[in-house]
């Protein structure tokens, strides 16, 4: 299918560094890729060609044309760390100490969830993500088959991870953890849905594993040439605990067990020391920064400025809705752009370009979807169209500042993934939203998460 977005403004990170803005252009898509981007002048005439964006293509033979006037095209946003089906627990447990939150509220209620509950919870999350401009996410939770099914059906992209120790009905003994034959989830889902699903190995954290299983998990990832998604140094307690458990800190545990020999999404990384940062910078580790969750659970403020300075790939995530309490990447960009300035007393910390890159190209790279995250010829067509007319954006003085500091999720009008329109004019095409909400509300009532129950 060929789609044309006509007369749209465009804001995209460049490869490497910098940001490019064009007031008016046409974006052509052929199947799942951007086939051309034509820059126009005020009168609508072709002007110059951006070297970045690719060659002109004058052949317009389009199946579908989107009017891009008063809209801003950006690359789809990438949510680099979440637990999607936790939507069920949204606003169920807040303003509590971490241990009470986790052990008294979240864990007991999670045990009540069935695979079908997870399916609908993930669907609701995906619908919310599409509505807020997210085209790709990294997920870690239970009953991941159901999440994969929801991803496949809805048209979004996802990096899904799975703990091979916990194949239901087929628990793998730890000594076989590294054996690719036992990792059914990978065989079943990696590369599925036209390549929209990538499978990583879940290593929840160093503290929930032991050294043997960490070694086996890293071997498994190496054997598949895939990556690992892990929680790392979310709380300060992890350091002490790691010394007790392993006699070394979590970063050294990862280094020595081979976790860092493969591409890693390391969620949180709030309590990295200088030496941890140096070590991580030498590996293929992306830091998935979750500012809202880290603040809300009082985990602390990650040293993102220092981490960025070492050239580490920093991407952005919402974490689950039980600790956020939404999946809004615009809010995440906004908060990421603010807290590091205030915490470091440096108004130059984590600028607008930095958060834009975190939420797009950096996230795409970290999740293994390198061909998205930038708008340019030949790239995957993961495009979000934002309304430019909201009062909270006017006057439209600077598009990049607007994106980081003023734009809201509600400005997302149209979402395209791999050249397929998932939402147009705020109407989701691929999910039965009403049914999804009905099912999740029912689950919340069933398990007692709902207010008054």
């Amino acid at each position: 299918m060929n789609i044309l977005i006509r007369d749209v403004s465009l804001l995209t990170p460049r490869e490497g560094c910098g940001v490019e803005y064009f007031e008016r252009c046409d974006i052509g898509m052929h199947d799942d890729r951007i086939s051309f981007i034509k820059i126009k002048d005020d009168a609508g005439q072709e002007t110059r060609e951006s070297a970045e964006l690719g060659q002109f293509d004058r052949q317009y033979n389009m199946d579908f044309i989107i009017d891009g006037r008063n809209k801003l095209a950006i690359p789809g946003l990438v949510n680099a760390h979440t637990h999607s089906a936790m939507t069920i627990l949204r606003n169920y447990a807040d303003d509590l100490p971490l241990k009470e939150w986790l052990f008294d509220k979240i864990l007991p209620i999670e045990n009540l969830l069935s695979d079908e509950d997870i399916y609908w919870g993930a669907k609701l999350a995906i619908a919310e993500m599409i509505m807020s401009g997210t085209t790709c996410f990294a997920d870690m939770y239970m009953f991941m088959d159901m999440v994969a099914q929801a991803v496949a059906e809805s048209g979004i992209k996802a990096n899904l991870c799975r703990n091979p120790l916990k194949n239901p009905g087929n628990t793998v003994p730890v000594e076989h953890l590294g054996d690719t034959r036992y990792f059914e989830f990978y065989w079943k889902w990696n590369g599925q849905a036209n390549g929209r699903i990538k499978v990583f190995v879940e290593v929840h954290s160093t503290y929930l594993y032991d050294e043997r299983s960490l070694r086996e998990a890293s071997e498994l990832a190496r054997n598949f040439s895939t990556g690992i998604h892990i929680h790392l140094l979310e709380t300060r307690d992890e350091i002490m605990q790691s010394y007790e458990q392993y006699g070394k800190n979590p970063v050294d545990v990862c280094l020595e067990t081979g976790i860092f020999t493969v591409p890693v999404i390391a969620a949180h990384c709030v309590h990295l020391s200088d030496s941890d940062i140096e070590k991580i910078a030498r590996c293929n580790v992306a830091v998935a920064h979750n500012p809202t969750s880290n603040l809300k659970l009082a985990s602390g403020i990650a040293r993102i400025n220092d981490i960025m300075k070492k050239g580490i790939n920093v991407c952005l995530g919402t974490d689950g809705t039980a600790s956020n309490n939404n999946l809004n990447m615009f809010e995440e960009m906004h908060i990421a752009s603010l807290i590091h300035k205030g915490a470091s007393m440096d108004p130059l910390a984590v600028n607008a370009e930095a958060v834009f890159r975190m939420a797009t190209t950096n996230g795409s790279k970290a999740l293994g979807f390198d061909e998205a995250g930038i708008l340019g010829k030949g790239k995957k067509a993961d495009i979000v169209l934002l309304d430019k007319t909201g009062l909270h954006l006017r006057p439209f003085n600077n598009p990049l500042s607007a994106l980081a500091y003023s734009y809201q999720a509600s400005d997302v009008e149209t979402v395209i993934v791999d050249g397929q329109i998932l939402m147009q004019n705020r109407e989701i095409k691929t999910i039965d939203v009403e049914r999804t909400v009905y099912e999740v509300e029912k689950t919340a009532k069933k398990i007692g998460a709902n207010y008054g129950n």
Copy 2:
């Protein structure tokens, strides 16, 4: 005029402390006040009466009925510190050191603004505030007559302050600053627009005044029995500067010049010492917390938890759009609820109720509109209706958590101030939005704030 909101959910702070939620009720308004609130059961029958909310009134003789189903009524939000017409400079100067931002970018361009520019800039701000659920704001800027006119026309409420030293064409000598006869802005506007406008005395800061003018300004406020709106300890530099200028710190300067003998809106208060907090707690000083601006300009993180513990009235503001870059009180609540947990490593800091109170009843009190800020019989009818159906709110497990952590400005559907509907179904009734945006965009281009100029 009598308005009825039928079958609406209701969330309001109680007097003193606590929050009240009703799944289904009717809210009646007579002229500018709430005349009754009737609590209903699931079947729509009257049930009990909330002592807080006032007596039943069975006389329905309504001019206008709003369907409240799937909506949540909350008190209108109060933006306790802004510079409304700075909308013109939105996204014009970001990611800069404070001094460069202020002296090289903001101040030179502000000098180019005319009174008419301010009128349209304020109108745009008011439109944005209405759309995001704000019913009342405290403003400090130039050409305040134009702001007052915009407030009067638009139906919103405002606390407007003015520096009597700077009546254009009628500069008051400092020795007459305390003389009420010279403060024309007060005579012209205080109590106008059916009491929707209150006038405070502007004292920009201690550092832009001298001791004599501070004494005169406080005398002026006392003579009018009104209050003062001041910037206080926004940056750390102010402490040193104050010792150089006055030989004492800014809080002591305010105490000794009588500033704290009247009701005060003290914006920012980022760098209060323990002793400052003790002193402020003994006076009628409300702290207007501006978390976004303080973070964005790298001023620091105010000690809101400590300030609240001393019983000081903390309210919430956005500051101007040049340092935010929007006027979104939902975002402000969200950020206020998050940063203090993260900065203090205490997940119990500044909970959902606290930010809800800051943004409603606390702000109303600070700005001198004590009869608003809570929904109850006899209160001023400043009511915001929020959509309850957004995917980012589902399942609707806990209304208070949803308000603090999930709700977005775009969920605001209807806004009522003093019983007048200013916006219904996201259509503003009292402002020509198209003309306003046109005029502000023109101004931005004229003064060179617009991207590319």
